[in-house]
Symmetry: C2
Subunit: 169 residues, 2 copies
C-alpha cells in the first residue's frame, strides 16, 4: 500500500476477527516502530508484546477506552527508558512517532489497530507499571491493540485548511 | 512508495537542491499531517508554512541543530492550541504523530526532510513564539525543514531485538 494512501486511509480499528496475527507480522511492525526518528537519535524505546488475554482483560478493566482489548489478537506496549534519552523530556514524542509507525505498518499489512493512551494520565501509570513489572526509569506512552479488521471504515476527513497559516500565525 | 518501505528507508535529510517544493506538495503533506491520530480525535494542531528565508535564517541562528534551514525550500512549524485538547497534556503526542506523518509523506513524494525539536526546550519556545506571533495557548512542538534531497542515505539499521519483551518486562 502506498505510503500516502496508508496515511490518508488509516482509521482506529477496534473490532477484530479471531484470525491470528503472526509473529512475523509483529516483528515487521516492531521494525517499523524502531525506524522512527527520535530526539538525538537516542531511540529510548522498549516494546512489550502481549498475547496473554488475562493481561489484556486486566488493562480493559482499569482503562476507560480499552474495551477492544479482550478481542485483540495482540497488543504492544510502547514505553521508554529515560536513562536512554539524549535530550531529557523528549521520550513522549519519540514514542508517539514510534506508535504512529506501528499503526501505519499494521494498516499496510492489512491489520487494524488502535492507539490506547496512557501517558500522562497519572491514574493509569502505576497500574501499568505494576502489571508489566516496569523499572522505575521506564515510562509507558501507549498501548496499541491490533488484529485483523472486523469493521470497515471509510478514510477520515480530517483536513482543515483553516489550520494552515503562512509565514506567521 | 510502499508504506513499510517508506517507514524503513526514511532518514533525516539535511541537504537540499535549489529545486522548489510546490504548493501542491505542501498541501498533500499537510493532509497527511492532519490524518494523524490524536487523543480523543481532538486534532489540536495548527501548521505554519514558512518560505521566507529571513525567518528560517533567524531560527537557524538561535537553534543549535537547525543549520540546514537556510538551504531548505520550505519548512513547517507544527504546533497545538491547548484549548482544542480533549485530554489535557496530550498535545505533544498528537503533534509528534502529525510530524511523523509529515516526514513519511515528504519521503513518499521524493522529498527529504528533518525533524527539528522545539518542545520542551524552554529556551527555544519564547523565541519561536515571538517570531511567529503565536497566541499564549499555542505551543510549538517541532519544525520540519524540507526540500529535494541533495544527499543519499542508506536505510537505517535501528532494529534492536533486545528492546522487545514478551508479556512482561
Amino acid at each position: 500500500m502506498d505510503v500516502l494512501e496508508a496515511i490518508l486511509s488509516r482509521r482506529s480499528i477496534r473490532k477484530y476477527t479471531t484470525e491470528p496475527v503472526t509473529d512475523e507480522e509483529v516483528e515487521l511492525i516492531l521494525q517499523a516502530a524502531m525506524a522512527a526518528p527520535s530526539s538525538g537519535n537516542a531511540r529510548p524505546w522498549h516494546f512489550i508484546v502481549i498475547r496473554d488475554h488475562n493481561t489484556m482483560d486486566e488493562v480493559a478493566r482499569m482503562h476507560p477506552y480499552a474495551g477492544m482489548l479482550p478481542n485483540a489478537q495482540v497488543s504492544i506496549l510502547v514505553c521508554a527508558d529515560e536513562k536512554l534519552e539524549n535530550h531529557p523530556g523528549r521520550w513522549p514524542q519519540d514514542c508517539a512517532a514510534a506508535t504512529e509507525n506501528i499503526l501505519l505498518a499494521a494498516h499496510g499489512l492489512g491489520l487494524g489497530a488502535v492507539w490506547i493512551g496512557l501517558h500522562p494520565e497519572i491514574d493509569r501509570i502505576p497500574l501499568i507499571r505494576k502489571l508489566f513489572d516496569l523499572p522505575l526509569t521506564v515510562h509507558p506512552l501507549s498501548l496499541v491493540a491490533m488484529g485483523r479488521p472486523n469493521e470497515k471504515k471509510l478514510p477520515p476527513h480530517r483536513f482543515k485548511p483553516e489550520r494552515i497559516h503562512y509565514e506567521k500565525w
